[in-house]
Amino acid sequence: MSPFYFGSSDLPIFGIYSAANPARDKRKALLICQATFQEYMRSHRLVKQLAVQLSAEGIHVLRFDYPGCGDSSGEWHDTDVDNWTSSVLQAEEELKAVSLVDDISYLGIRFGASLLVKAACPTVNSNSSIIFWDPVFDGEQYFQTLTRMQGELIADKSRFMDNRKNYQSMADLEFAGFPVSRTTAEQMKKIKLGPNDCSAGRILLLHSGTRPDGENSALRSDRMESQALALGCDWESLAHMETQVQEPDLTAKILKFLS
């Protein structure tokens, strides 16, 4: 694993590159667009394990943190959704440069799926493969969910001894404890995407529980295969907000798809 910073010097982006095991190098690379806010925290350990396991199997992997998130520089008021989207393109360039591989596949986790599709990476074409893991493509609905979770959080009597219903965030807005700018929220609400908005030739939809495309035509695609994860994750439950995500079959499913 090689941690490093890339992108502009005023707002450097943190990434960790896991080079492919030289003995099994498949000349393939995977760019991971992580989840955001608390979902990023919950999935960090699993995403790290995924990167380590895929690199051992011969796939180059780059995971990175969006500006103002995780280890990347910047605070909530320095960044917005457009900024995050640009970072996807910068990360793709970085992965190509560091791995010297042109065959790049993509993994978008939760809101990272929207950022991935919105970024419209120039390398994505009919030969490309994209994996969406419990994707969030409806920004307005996601905004409502995160707002609801913030309301539930401050009313949570098992968490707070005192009544915090009068809590006023010191940021523009707060999504389940994470400060966000009004610009981020407005840009998020405008997002309404789906797999058909990307030009990848093959799409794998990994989902927790009920198939999200079952009733949502925006999520249907002829190029897409859909698979349920063994355990599944209730991303939007406050009760599980601080529980690490566990998906024992995640790596195997992704590896099979990429092979």
Partner: protein, 262 residues
């Protein structure tokens, strides 16, 4: 690293992992704190202990505690090589507080510690505040009795206890009080400064401001080096941004005595 315009700091701050969470900290707390301190000229190092976050498992044969002490000392070595700072302040939440205490005891370069929901020992007054409301309330009293009876019922029915989660590896047992008192006395004697901050999340083990001093009365003579803040409105992981800003203010205020005035 501190901004160039800021006054040089005499100390560096090292943030420890909270449980299994990686170096970013709960709700990005460690990063926000590092940025907050950076603006005030205080350099901060965040890192992952062995086997946590992006760090690999150690290949040595040290036990967990010895490895933690080694890891934190190595972090101080790294910071010294980058900043020329030779004295450090440790900050840790929950298991991080436990680890900060152990590292401080082992390495005298750590001149101060900020312990968030760290060690707490019961006192008579604590027990009164904790159990009296239960005893005088029939409904709560019944619930408590049922809690104690349940394991016996499960045992009789031969219901297997669910396997421990991975997190249980990282929960800590409260060390024996006399040992902790000896260690804290040694830290005080060598001139260390200690700040304990308790949240409402630790109310089951810490329920009034002077509980720490009542549990270790020798601390009454050292209140310049030892302070406790109890804020029961806040939860254990500082989930609300405003609560985290309150914490950063407390930390910054505590660190003022270690920073050089311009």
């Amino acid at each position: 690293m501190p901004q160039e315009s800021a006054a040089p700091s005499k100390v560096g701050v090292i943030c420890l992992n909270a449980g299994l969470l990686h170096r970013v900290g709960p709700f990005r707390m460690n990063v926000e704190l590092a940025n907050y301190l950076r603006e005030r000229g205080i350099p901060t190092l965040r890192f992952d202990l062995s086997s946590i976050g992006d760090s690999g498992a150690s290949k040595g044969d040290r036990d967990y505690t010895a490895q933690v002490v080694k890891d934190v000392s190595s972090a101080a070595d790294l910071m010294r090589s980058r900043t020329d700072i030779e004295k450090f302040v440790l900050i840790g939440l929950c298991t991080g507080a436990d680890n900060a205490h152990r590292a401080m005891v082992a390495d005298d370069r750590f001149i101060a510690g900020i312990f968030l929901d760290g060690y707490a020992y019961p006192t008579f007054r604590y027990c009164l505040r904790r159990y009296l409301p239960v005893v005088i309330n029939p409904i709560r009293f019944t619930k408590v009795i049922l809690t104690f009876i349940k394991p016996f019922i499960h045992h009789l029915r031969r219901i297997e206890k669910p396997p421990d989660s991975a997190d249980s590896m990282f929960t800590w047992e409260l060390p024996e009080k006399n040992q902790t008192a000896r260690e804290i006395r040694a830290l005080i004697d060598r001139g260390a400064t200690l700040l304990y901050i308790f949240s409402g999340g630790s109310w089951q083990s810490y329920n009034y401001p002077r509980q720490f001093i009542d549990s270790m009365p020798f601390l009454r003579n050292h209140e310049a080096q030892f302070s406790v803040i109890l804020n029961k409105s806040i939860d254990h992981t500082y989930s609300l941004y405003g609560d985290r800003l309150w914490l950063y203010d407390q930390v910054s205020h505590f660190l003022k005595s270690f920073t050089t005035t311009p």
